[in-house]
């Protein structure tokens, strides 16, 4: 495995994991490395799969916390106005 643009596999993996691979010239360096390195390409493929699965988890938290009740509680504590009758929603 050659070393295009001075990036080693460990650096490429770190850049992919932390999101640095999406920025500026690092993006070019990482993708140049990926073109030449099968192992890192497999890691990239796996990372993309995992990101997709994480997004499928959705942005809604898996929790028993009642967000609406919490919001009302917080508005009651911190809002400069009294709650309107019947709430906002």
């Amino acid at each position: 495995m050659s070393n295009p643009f001075g990036m080693k596999c460990r650096d490429v993996v770190a850049a992919l994991d932390t999101g640095e691979a999406e920025k500026g010239f690092t993006r070019v360096r990482v993708f140049s490395h990926l073109l030449l390195c099968h192992a890192c390409r497999m890691y990239f493929k796996f990372s993309r799969f995992l990101s997709g699965a994480a997004r499928a988890l959705g942005r809604e938290p898996h929790s028993s916390v009642d967000l609406r009740k919490l919001e009302e509680r917080l508005l009651k504590s911190h809002s400069s106005e009294a709650a309107p009758p019947g709430g906002r929603r």
Binding site: M42, S51, A56, P61, S63, S79
Partner: protein, 195 residues
């Protein structure tokens, strides 16, 4: 993934005046993230609600210091993590925060090349309902690993932000994320729900 933007001067002024509509909007944006951080740290139900309420108390008490340069949720997560630490301390629930380095096989040589190249993820790509399986597998991560993974992959936070929220260096964060992914891969591959 889109990162939350810092607040504008106008939004900040409305927040400082405790404008009800503005507060409702920021609660709606930030609370799901805070709840997820609590859940990732093993705090749920009324405990989570109380910690989030305390987080907002601190935030509003200290609102003068918040200049809107950092994203609101990032700022709040920093406060919440301190609250979670206090909560754990009070409950005597301090556990090992991460696996010791030595029990993990080293994935890279001293020179930075793969020791054991990763296998093609072809079987994983055929997993049915990967999101649900991932949710189960996340239970097997340590709290810092889970928090780091969720903040990175679900909330799209960058490394510096996550490092400051979790109070770890970026170098440590890389280790957390790499190990989290390795554990998730092992878990997902072991599920057998493959087509």
């Amino acid at each position: 993934m889109k990162r939350p933007a810092p607040l504008s001067e106008t939004e900040l002024a409305r927040l400082r005046s405790r404008d009800r509509g503005t507060l409702a909007a920021v609660f709606k944006e930030a609370n799901p993230v805070l709840v997820r951080v609590c859940a990732a740290n093993g705090v749920d139900g009324t405990d989570a609600e109380d910690l989030i309420a305390q987080t907002w108390e601190v935030f509003f008490a200290d609102l003068g210091r918040f200049e809107g340069r950092s994203a609101l949720t990032t700022f709040l997560c920093g406060i919440l993590f301190n609250k979670i630490r206090e909560h754990r301390r009070a409950r005597g629930r301090f556990v090992s925060e991460d696996d010791p380095e030595k029990i993990h096989a080293r994935p890279f040589t001293e020179d930075g090349w793969w020791n054991e190249p990763p296998a093609p993820p072809d079987r994983l790509l055929e997993l049915k309902d990967a999101g649900r399986l991932l949710a189960d597998c996340l239970e097997g991560l340590t709290v810092p690993q889970r928090s780091a993974f969720l903040l990175r992959e679900v909330d799209g936070e960058d490394a510096v932000t996550i490092g400051s929220v979790l109070d770890v260096t970026v170098e440590h964060l890389r280790v957390l994320l790499f190990r989290a992914k390795a554990k998730l891969r092992a878990c997902l591959e072991g599920r057998g729900d493959v087509v």
